[in-house]
């Protein structure tokens, strides 16, 4: 354990995973309860296209990713709210088209890019600057959630009740999506485009199986996320054999999925037993 903590990159990885484990479930709770769990995947594809735009134009990929993700997520929400198309159809269109834009731009780029790093992340190579961005975004998410909690909670139950309470529902929807987009952009380097949405959704789905109220679901999900992330990063350090490195993001998602499967199985067995004892 001490040898791991003697490495600077491991300290960065552990700090990064702690910040992500605290912030992702906070937004994830409102995303899941709004029945838009798949939106995380689409937003992560926006980040991919945004990075590709930056690489192609040789302009800061981080800035292009943030800007593209914010504008694309606002457009996505506008289309989802209109009655022109079903929400899932809008998500499907954006999901594939932004991935296509990213792939084409990266192939046209003169720079050599490690596409695996964007897709699967590299928690072990994150820098102090990445941690600073993550920290700023994380603190902003916590502060905004404290002041928006009641609004987001009521919107997740019924939009009409929120409107009658004089809540600007569109503003709070946009706020949730913009914050999620920004969190995804600053976290993509750590866990990658393909895995980031799991960290938004899986801890919440696990917590929903064992929780007794809405607020506690968030705290339980943060606890689960912290445990699985730290275990994933530590396992990655000890299981990787030089020169091949097991991506910590992948291990974190495997551990989260295993915990989810075990709890779901246990709860279903309980239900079956209760059902049988009634006969």
């Amino acid at each position: 354990m001490l040898s791991m903590l003697a490495q600077d990159y491991m300290i960065n990885a552990l700090i990064g995973s702690v910040i992500l484990s605290i912030t992702a479930p906070i937004l994830g709770m409102f995303v899941v309860s709004r029945r838009i769990s798949l939106i995380g995947d689409t937003l992560s594809h926006f980040a991919f296209a945004g990075v590709a735009i930056g690489v192609f134009t040789s302009f800061f990929p981080f800035l292009t990713a943030i800007t593209f993700s914010i504008f694309a997520s606002l457009l996505l929400l506008k289309l989802m709210q209109s009655n022109t198309l079903n929400s899932d159809a809008v998500l499907a269109v954006f999901f594939s088209s932004t991935m296509a834009i990213g792939t084409v731009l990266l192939s046209l780029s003169e720079q050599i890019v490690n596409i695996n790093e964007i897709l699967f992340g590299s928690l072990l190579w994150i820098t102090r600057t990445d941690l600073m961005y993550q920290g700023i975004v994380g603190l902003s998410i916590i502060a905004i959630t404290i002041f928006s909690y009641n609004k987001w909670f009521l919107i997740s139950i019924d939009r009409d009740l929120s409107r009658i309470n004089n809540t600007n529902v569109n503003f709070y929807d946009n706020l949730l999506l913009v914050l999620t987009s920004v969190l995804i952009v600053v976290s993509v380097r750590m866990v990658g485009v393909l895995l980031i949405s799991s960290l938004l959704v899986l801890p919440i789905l696990i917590a929903l199986q064992i929780t007794n109220n809405f607020r506690n679901t968030i705290f339980i999900a943060i606890g689960i996320s912290l445990f699985c992330s730290l275990l994933g990063v530590t396992s990655s350090y000890y299981l990787s054999t030089h020169p091949s490195i097991i991506p910590p993001g992948g291990l974190i998602v495997i551990i989260l999925s295993a915990v989810f499967a075990v709890i779901l199985l246990k709860n279903n067995l309980k239900l079956d037993n209760r059902f049988e004892s009634n006969f």
């Binding site: 309860s33 997740s156 139950i157 009658i164 309470n165 109220n213 809405f214």
Partner: protein, 236 residues
């Protein structure tokens, strides 16, 4: 008597169909207004216009007191996420529309005791029966001290004993000059509780006191056939 809200010549068209046809109606602070009409007659649309959830295609909504009243609203149906973890306490607390960190627990417990659902406060809303869920949202509509209460079928999933209790509570609230507007398919509940009645079938067929209404002519006009008002067992 003070006018709280006035609707003038309201028309609503959806998919080329006329949902509301030139409806004019005013609501005063003493009104306990029951909206009657067959299914698809535009009752819910009219309630949503009163709440500001639907903008009419033509017509005017006026607030004679110059300020939009704070409305306590009970929707007809709440579509819950199957595994929503929200508890009854959390749902009722949203009725306050208060700032973060405000503790309204004591007030929630007090009104829940009055409605005999205090034992359900820490249960998940998805584990409740249809009647109890409706009761929770009714309490939520009442708890924020609204200027006006709008209820879409408040008694549809509730037993007659709880129904009488709800209407008694609503009568007490109305006595404080808080207008109540509600829809129901239970003609007896409407005529028994409301002091004014509006009968609607796209057009407003009747708007007046419940005493005058009881000549069945108005009901027959709206429903298209003769309707008799018969007392339920359990009502006075």
């Amino acid at each position: 008597m003070t006018k709280i809200l006035e609707l003038e010549g309201i028309n609503v068209i959806r998919d080329k169909n006329l949902v509301l046809d030139n409806v004019s109606l005013s609501i005063e602070d003493t009104d306990f207004l029951g909206l009657l009409g067959p299914s698809g007659s535009g009752k819910t649309t009219l309630l949503k216009i009163i709440c500001g959830l639907i903008t009419p295609d033509t017509g005017k909504i006026k607030f004679p007191q110059r300020t939009k009243p704070k409305i306590g609203y009970l929707p007809q149906k709440i579509p819950f996420l199957p595994n929503s973890p929200a508890t009854v306490m959390e749902i009722i607390s949203t009725g306050f529309n208060s700032k973060p960190f405000t503790d309204n627990k004591d007030k929630v417990i007090a009104i829940s005791k009055e409605m005999a659902i205090d034992h359900l406060l820490y249960q998940k809303i998805t584990e409740l029966s249809g009647g109890h869920t409706q009761l929770v949202f009714l309490i939520r509509a009442l708890i924020g001290e609204p200027d006006m209460i709008v209820l879409d079928e408040p008694s549809s999933s509730i037993d007659t004993k709880t129904q009488s209790k709800i209407f008694q509570i609503l009568t007490n609230v109305n006595a404080k000059n808080i207008p109540i507007v509600f829809t129901s398919h239970d003609t007896f509940a409407v005529t028994n509780s409301a002091n004014r009645i509006a009968c609607i079938n796209k057009k407003l067929d009747y708007h007046g006191s419940s005493k005058d209404f009881l000549s069945n002519k108005h009901l027959a006009e709206s429903y298209g056939y003769n309707v008799d008002v018969v007392s339920h067992h359990g009502h006075d």
